[in-house]
């Protein structure tokens, strides 16, 4: 992951940011299926995520209207070849890109609902008598 960048190692260390104390850098995939009937009963309909193609991502990962100050354009639009290459070989740069990366991580975190897609769907189709 931490590839050496091109050029003499001594003079070209990649930038790294540890990040804010409260800003989590990890999202864990929660189990797809709750084993207990109680969990299935408590299933809620995941909040529909319109994933509007033109929306921007705010720092906390929510979607906001395009152009909202402090929010970032959708990841797809900005992941050009050089961005991807830089991300793969060098991670994020400090400042704006770090914040954008954290906003994106929060957006990814919010994609997870309480229980996974089909289980919730199945239990909604079969409401408790």
């Amino acid at each position: 992951m931490a590839d050496e960048s091109s050029g003499p190692v001594a003079s070209r260390r990649r930038a790294l940011m540890l990040g804010a104390v409260g800003a989590s850098a990890i999202v864990s995939i929660r189990p797809a299926l709750a084993q207990t009937s109680a969990s299935v009963i408590n299933c809620e309909i995941p909040v529909p995520d319109p994933a509007r193609a033109g929306s921007y991502i705010a720092a906390d990962g929510t979607l906001v209207p395009a152009g909202t100050p402090g929010a970032y354009p959708p990841p797809g639009a900005s992941f050009k070849a050089e961005d991807v290459k830089r991300a793969l070989s060098g991670g994020t740069l400090p400042g704006t890109d770090y914040e954008r990366s954290r906003a994106y991580t929060n957006y990814i975190r919010r994609l997870q609902s309480g229980t996974s897609g089909f289980t919730c769907f199945a239990s909604l189709q079969m409401p408790r008598g």
Partner: protein, 286 residues
Amino acid sequence: MRHLTHLRIGPIGFRVGSDWRGPIAALENLYRDYPAPEDGIPDFNVHLFAARPWRRLLRPSVHIGGDFVIPDAAPLPLAQGLLAAEMGMNLQMALGQRRFLLLHASAVERDGQALLMTGMSGAGKSTLAALLMARGWRLMGDEFALLDPATGLIHGFPRLISLKNEAIAVLERALPKARFGPVLKGTPKGTIRHLVPDARAIAAMAEPAVPKLILFPNYGFAAAERAVPPSETFVRLTQASTNYVALAERGFDALTRLVQTIPARALDYPDTATALTQVERLWEAA
């Protein structure tokens, strides 16, 4: 179980037993062109049963059982027995499938390559798949796509297409000569009508396809598109899978390979005509 039928959908064989003739008759009618389980051996059992013997006749209500169950699930009225059978089969797949990574996505095939469409219920993946079938794509499935971790190929699960509410009229107009099941009103999801996949979909059900494009359609917005990066596609697909965690490292490898290999696009669309044009263009460009 006094009434019994067997059928195969894609690579999966089912044995469905029932306390009533009705649901079995409906299955045998609508699935009449489908093959039997391979070697006669079903992968899963579904049971449609009455809670008490007298409930077979008095206010008959159908409880759904099988190899895999959701405890205390509410029963359905006998009039919706076909739906109960479908739910029973879905449940076996959702809870018991271990060979394939199960994706909650519709799939259609052209030239040996598969288009996957996934998203929340109501986003349009089933309706769009049915309309693409009407346009000559081979339908692989309206609800589930199976990813084989060993090969990376997509296998179809072409069950009866489950159309809900407004989508019913749309498909009745698009495919006036197709076979439809009964209109089922007052179900937990509104009005449902099943559409039988066409002869080509049934004949080719055992043929997998190479995945080419993933779409996340969103119905009811002005037309817009964006590229979805692999990390986001990965997380969305784990949310759309019922057995990702159970498949452990095989599942991880299969899904990472998929998102690294093929492009994904989010698609907002105001109506199906617009969506179909967008889909054809995105497919050519992928």
